[in-house]
Point group: C2
Chain length 353, copies 2
């Protein structure tokens, strides 16, 4: 009987066993599967997404936004989430920080022979929960199995399609903009590291993995002037952490960014464990945060709106865009000294997203 | 020096090394990277696709089509193609058999530590060649690296977005329809098996991997009656081969399909090697073929159009849709005996797509 509870090569073979896996595990557990006339349950070669004709007609610059993310998280279950939740949230958040309302996602799973079917079902439940939270259908998918010697765990790709009136860019920062972070940093990477290595000193840390669209949608409507959005630039600080996100925004926007150590929301447990391990929390991955550039006169309004959402309740203004050192990020310490926040050269904690 | 020519974990870390890999290998080698205001070179959190407003306005039922496919091909280089070509063609063809013009694709790569950077560049070249052939931009991507112990070779996910006036379905077959296959069957699976196992008796076999949109686009315009498309159903017979594709079409359309052995285009080398290995060519994967249901009065016209395209020059009418045995596929042998073509229970040749 044990054999029946594990993935076998036949499950990915495009025949009867695969149809049963897809029917019993995938189809049964996704509750929202249509965005047009052809949905997931049709198991056709793809699925369709109807056009929002009213939105397209009203917004002359409206575009689709597409994003993709492959996830190789280890371990696949961790405090605060699992690979399924991270995969869905990663894609939804990439759309959200582009200012795009998510329309649909696809799922590409690669599963090693011997993988537990019960674990697969848990992962699928998590994917569905995250999608349900933001009302996004999973409309099409692909499932491959490979030999257990070829792959050590499940890998999930999520591609996502959204729609925006005008995309929010990395490169849109302007002098004087305030920089907001939507909550505590480095929780995701540190929770995974803690779980993986079995550290006891930070065992209550939880990943921040969350789908941010409902937090971000309201702030997109705030205008600094008629027709001028208050939000000028946005990124989700995943791999490479806040350090990488801020550097990209500074480089692409050709401005300097100054941030203040005392204003950074960091949990005490993260500070402690980073110190013990010699890690910089600014370089650690997040999966439920946004770094946001905002016109200064709207910063408090944006902050107040963010704080109304569960995922933004610890949001803070952490710095501003400055003329000095374009392309660089400067950290002002609590004692007033300054240093550059560099682009991370490597990954302090691999396989967290 | 050797170390520099291999992928290391830092290449996937979201920092400087990753930026250099993406700049030098990915960005440099994709020549068409924009479908809207934000393209691949922006390296933003996603990319945009402009709306074809004229097409949407003219076609009241127009929809987007989305598809995704993860590729785990072994070996990654084989006669007639490589994993990059298969990945792109697989996605383009899934759109094509839905009747959708491809608008853009995304790429999600997972690369094991130690993978050759020269091989990566070859794969990327193949992806670009296939995309160029059909004029489709690659607009966004994600690259992850994992430990060499975690994964035995590169894996590529391609998601694709297209647009159609009305999707062509698996379930659209009608009584009397002719069934067309666009060329020789089983070449892809047999070419990979031959290469992988080092069989000498079929060493001149080449994969049929090809992007089929330009072959399929013209036949979509043929009408059986005003407003009634001649093509009623379409599938690309990849995993599970023609046997799986026909069974799905028969089951979903609730009709019987009768095909004639003597009409099946199969190369002599494929027949011989399948016989030697005890394989059924109907169950072997193709990566450049379409199975097409067509209103009978238009079958010759569709066939003639297919034959004008390189990839359709060996197309043939192989059978028809019948009332008997709904949901079943019946093969009539050269001697006139009949048998069911079953849904394959497993995969005779794993990891071919």
């Amino acid at each position: 009987m044990a054999k029946e509870n594990k993935i076998s090569m036949e499950h990915g073979a495009g025949g009867q066993q695969m149809q049963s896996l897809i029917g019993n595990i995938i189809l049964k557990n996704f509750t929202n599967t249509k965005a047009g006339s052809v949905g997931l349950e049709a198991l056709d070669d793809g699925a369709t997404i109807a056009f929002d004709r009213a939105f397209i007609a009203e917004n002359k610059n409206a575009e689709l936004v597409m994003t993709t993310d492959s996830h190789v998280v280890k371990p696949i279950f961790f405090p605060g989430g699992d690979i399924g939740k991270v995969a869905v949230c990663g894609a939804i958040n990439d759309l959200a920080v582009m200012g795009a309302r998510p329309l649909a996602v696809s799922s590409g799973m690669i599963i090693p022979e011997g993988f537990s079917i019960a674990d697969l079902e848990k992962v699928v439940h998590s994917m569905n929960d995250a999608l349900t939270e933001v009302g996004v259908p999973l409309i099409t998918g692909d499932t491959k199995t490979v030999e257990g010697t070829a792959l050590d765990s499940i890998m999930i790709n999520i591609a996502a399609i959204g729609i925006c009136d005008a995309p929010v860019r990395d490169c849109g920062l302007r002098l004087g903009d305030k920089i907001i972070i939507s909550g505590f940093i480095a929780d995701h990477g540190m929770a995974l590291l803690t779980k993986r290595e079995g550290f006891e000193f930070s065992s209550d840390l939880e990943s921040d993995t969350a789908p941010l669209w409902k937090m971000i949608e309201p702030i997109l409507s705030i205008q600094a002037a008629p027709g001028e959005r208050a939000v000028t630039a946005m990124k989700d600080p995943t791999r490479g952490g806040v350090a990488d996100a801020l550097n990209e925004m500074a480089q692409k926007s050709k401005v300097g960014i100054r941030i203040y150590e005392e204003k950074l929301p960091i949990r005490e447990a993260v500070v402690t464990s980073c110190e013990m391990l010699g890690l910089d929390p600014l370089e650690i991955a997040n999966e439920g945060k946004a770094v946001i550039g905002v016109r200064p006169e709207c910063a408090e309004a944006v902050l107040a709106l963010l704080k109304q959402n569960t995922y933004g309740k610890d949001a803070a203004i952490i710095g501003e865009v400055v003329e000095e050192k374009p392309g660089k990020v400067i950290l002002v310490s609590e004692l007033g000294s300054t240093r550059y926040v560099d682009v991370p050269t490597g990954d302090p904690i691999p396989r967290v997203c």
